[in-house]
Homo-oligomer: 298 residues x 2
């Protein structure tokens, strides 16, 4: 175990991915027994039991000709999930949030990993190189083009995103996207682009969105975020000049908050109360863990 000292959500699945089985057709076929488990999903959403656990069925529940992803093994049982008819790049709706908030951290991580890969399959049924159909391969960790002249291999996406707390004289820079509920602020964030180091992506995003120059970027923690396939890379950076120039095409607002304001907002969130200077990001978001880390380091 590598631990999860910051208490980041979607981390800590006990699933043993058993990579060596994926590429071995005989071993993989040997996993598909009556004792194997199939994660119950409605589309991309989990089916959650009255005891707030993920529900699992048997492979007999899979649709005919369903594409099955081998998630790995847990408690000596092979675990699968089936690819739904359609994927989605939409953010989760409030109902899904409420449902998954009842799951343990470990089960939330298992669900997130399963969701992101079956969603990828559902949205990648064709070859980006030649346009022909693709088929699931290696237990669901690859898709292969069926065109003999192409034969391209495709792999699930994991899209790195930097998300950062920028600090200046004890204050932290937070912003709000237009889609946020009123009063909500969170850490600035953006995708790492081709050709960028993590530190370069952090500096570029903060400058683009808030006009602030940063230095001394450090890594804090990471989170796999399954809506649809981000790897959130949480960082901290320092600013010498607090002047903010908000990019209104990206953000409604960005401004500095004191440590006391952040601490107050985190406590209000936990107690589900209002009255704080802003509404903090939810516990499931890595920004929440980053802010808890920042408050605690004082």
């Amino acid at each position: 175990m590598t631990g999860n000292p910051l208490g980041i959500s979607f981390v800590g699945s006990r699933m043993d991915r058993s990579d060596h089985i994926r590429g071995n057709p005989e071993l993989l076929a040997g996993m598909m027994t009556p004792g194997a488990r199939l994660l119950r999903l409605e589309g991309l959403d989990p089916v959650i039991s009255a005891e707030s656990r993920l529900e699992w069925g048997s492979l007999a529940e899979a649709r005919d000709n369903a594409e099955l992803v081998f998630l790995g093994r847990q408690d000596d049982r092979a675990c699968f999930a089936q690819v739904p008819a359609a994927g989605s790049v939409a953010p989760p709706n409030p109902g899904l949030w409420q449902a998954i908030a009842t799951l343990s951290g470990e089960e939330l991580a298992t669900y997130g990993g399963a969701r992101t890969i079956v969603d990828w399959h559902a949205r990648h049924r064709f070859c980006a190189r030649c346009g022909h159909t693709t088929v699931l391969a290696k237990g669901g960790w690859q898709r292969n083009c069926t065109n003999e002249a192409c034969r391209a291999e495709h792999f699930p996406r994991v899209d790195p995103v930097t998300i950062m707390l920028v600090e200046h004289e004890g204050n932290v820079l937070l912003g709000r996207q237009p889609r946020f509920p009123a009063g909500n602020y969170s850490a600035l964030a953006g995708f790492v682009e081709p050709g960028e180091a993590i530190e370069e992506a952090v500096a570029r995003e903060v400058q683009e969105e808030a006009g602030v120059i940063v230095r001394d970027v450090t890594y804090v923690g990471s989170q796999p975020w399954p809506f649809p396939s981000s790897l959130m890379i949480g960082c901290h950076a320092w600013a010498d000049d607090p002047t903010v120039v908000v990019d209104k095409t990206e953000l409604d607002d960005a401004r500095w908050f004191t440590r006391a304001e952040v601490e107050d907002a985190m406590q209000a969130l936990e107690r589900n109360e209002g009255g704080s200077a802003f509404r903090a990001p939810p516990r499931t978001a890595v920004a929440n863990a980053l802010l808890r880390w920042w408050v605690a380091r004082g």
Copy 2:
């Protein structure tokens, strides 16, 4: 500037990506002037001048109907690269290594960023969701499906890879892949999978490839690696039990080296000499920077 204290290659381009121009057709059209520069490429390889600089031409050199990527602005001039007929997922050949080794760090970074994105376009001319053709959009930072019923938007890939130095009692664990030249060893590495935090990917890869359990994973530095589109995430971790069980399907060998052996190998590499316990990874690889960092921290 965020600096590059570890001296990591492919980092430090001076290109201003000018994100706000990409999505604005008028501003983008305004960049396509006679003064705009076109990066000279032969396929995916750079054309390098006698002075060991990247060569740039004008947009007049682009093929008819070429797809053009807006790289950004540098020294007040707009910079473009054209999408080649074919991309490649193959590792670079020795000739390319020799050529790019003569470039400055800044120009190597500019080339790497340009290569990875034009390569992505060349290998993603079709919609993975519906199989129809796609067209370049937003100055080359997106492709859009041309099928009215689909309209999927596709974004360049950046594939996070963990690469790690595992330490036990002053020794470091290195491995060699079957494709390495004889005597070469480097840091273990592997793609971050859907559903994994960086720390979890590090732990899984080391256990899979070398049977070693790690703890206390920390981040060291990152590198965009353009062959074809990796984001190398360099980490350090500790092992309590040095027992190595090599996964022979992945590695020829993995074993522990002393700090003195690593220091000797790094010096031999710089002097282009043999005689060390192993041959260290080249200066362009992030593993080289990680090993220099590890030797220096003593």
